[in-house]
Subunit: 330 residues, 2 copies
């Protein structure tokens, strides 16, 4: 039996817990430590016998960890953490602020090249698996057009925006792709779709007793950036109903590329990739763990620097050997 | 303007012609020669000003060609051609006899390592894009199950089998996935599906005048390996109707993995990839051309040996730079 890949988790929210669960399914890897900003004694994790440390102790454990999976948020945690920890560890993150990826890449790349470590950023499903599918499809069909649809799924950002409205106790917002738009894309018609045509937004809101529901609804549907450009429906429900029917974090979506082949571009082609996920963070975590295996192998092969999913050969993600993959999966 | 990647085509059937069409869409590549077993003077190609040579002259042009795309068949051409030509060229093939891939890989790898060239085998969509999707999905969801469905599309092998029956002038066979089976898979029920439950076969047959149609139909539906294990329908049509409505070579299919995440595997996930192609050879050719770019780059970076789609990082397939990909596709 080969030595297992020793993994650390930094940050133990939904994503960190998802990584812990995913590691249980990957028998060539083992969780060796969890690092938290909380008091370690207050944190109960699921895996028996694995120590929890304060994040300030992370660097002291650098020789015990092959890959550190960073499970912080993209807004303030990862822009600092990923360049910092790649000085000491091979790292993986799920940085998902698309517009800031080039800057984040440059920061992580400089630190990783200096330390000789590998840092794979923006792993997950968008960015991540969806990005991969955009790249593969556009490489194969240069004459074509990409479409990405999200949902049906819970948007944490939009749910939070509703919660900040006066009189709202709790809320859950679902992003829903419009079937007619999906069908139009699949037809190969190459439609130009507005924001409103692509997705609708459905809100489940628990209001304080006696709150002005009409005002809350109006504040939601007219909220700039978040809702004003969409057809939004608002449903007021009880806290019990919210907890019973809307406590999950499902998500998913579609990446579709339609494109032409043939001398006169006479043939239509549709490439479609879709995800339907009961738990968004658990799936994102599963992607992180597969890329942690790749980071370990790429570092072991002498590579260093910042990488993205575009730079990782698919075989690097797999437990099985190249020989097994060719015999059974090709 | 950087130098273009100089590509040769060896074999000018449907697939070779598809490669020629795909090259037209890839502005960083140029077709420099076509090699044929026919008399070169009898072969008219689509691209103006590109020479056609007899295949026996191929090696003499080795310094003018960066990548040779081998467009022969898997039964007898490629097992010989790919190990032979990788002695002189970086090569790409679409070898699709799944059971013989390990043997083909070993032969190509030995020759490619000796010559210092790169040979990428089994590019296309199955093997190829479907294989990639099986590998990515199983790496992310180790606790799950893969399903591959083919169609709706024309099976050349099954059409040929019908044509060999006495009294048959021409025939076209469509492989069709069963919707109920697809839905059952997508539900996450992890069904065990029989051959009959997954696909049906629909045949359009032109019979000789006065032929015994009942006998032909019986010979088709009871034919071992090809039809006996399927629900098969046979339609007798005129040659005119066959030419008018069944002259295309469409194909496609679905790769679906359902798998579990969560500490107690409490979350379901569905990853689905599908293709809908007006022309099977034109799309396969487009995949070959994208991997030709990768072969050129991998060889330029000093790599050699046999590779498959599992060994090629996605960024290698793209015209755009890593920087552009990260800014716009991630």
């Amino acid at each position: 039996m080969a030595e297992k890949i020793r993994v650390g988790i930094l940050g133990y929210g939904n994503l960190g817990k998802g990584v812990e669960c995913a590691l249980k399914q990957n028998t060539d890897m083992e969780l060796v430590a969890v690092f938290t900003r909380r008091n370690p004694e207050d944190l109960k994790i699921l895996t028996q016998g694995v120590p929890v440390y304060n994040v300030s102790d992370a660097v002291a454990h650098k020789d015990e960890i092959d890959v550190m999976i960073l499970c912080g948020g993209s807004a303030t945690d990862l822009p600092k953490q990923t360049p910092e920890y790649v000085q000491y560890f091979n790292v993986i993150d799920s940085f998902d602020t698309h517009a800031k990826i080039p800057e984040h890449f440059a920061n992580v790349d400089a630190a990783a090249k200096a330390s000789g470590k590998v840092g794979i950023i923006s792993c997950g499903w968008d960015p991540g698996m969806f990005s991969l599918n955009r790249v593969y499809a556009s490489a194969i069909l240069p004459q074509g057009k990409d479409y990405t649809f999200w949902g049906k799924g819970v948007s944490q950002g939009h749910s939070d925006a509703i919660r900040r409205i006066e009189g709202v106790l709790d809320a859950r917002q679902y992003t829903i792709p419009v079937d007619a738009a999906l069908d139009k894309v699949r037809s190969g018609a190459n439609p130009e779709l507005t924001t409103r045509e692509k997705h609708t937004r459905e809100c489940f809101v628990v209001a304080e007793e006696g709150a002005d529901l009409a005002r809350i609804e109006k504040e939601i549907v007219t909220m700039p950036n978040y809702f004003a450009d969409y057809d939004t429906t608002v449903n007021f429900i009880s806290m019990e109903e919210l907890k019973a029917n809307h406590s999950g974090i499902p998500h998913g979506g579609f990446v579709i590329r339609t494109g032409k082949t043939g001398w006169d571009e006479e043939y239509n082609n549709v490439i479609e990739y879709s995800l339907k996920l009961d738990s968004n963070p658990a799936f994102t975590a599963s992607v992180l763990v597969a890329y942690a295996r790749a980071a370990y192998r790429m570092a072991a092969a002498g590579q260093s620097g910042c990488k993205t999913v575009f730079d990782v050969a698919p075989a690097q993600l797999c437990m099985a050997s190249g020989e097994e993959l060719r015999a059974h999966m090709l």
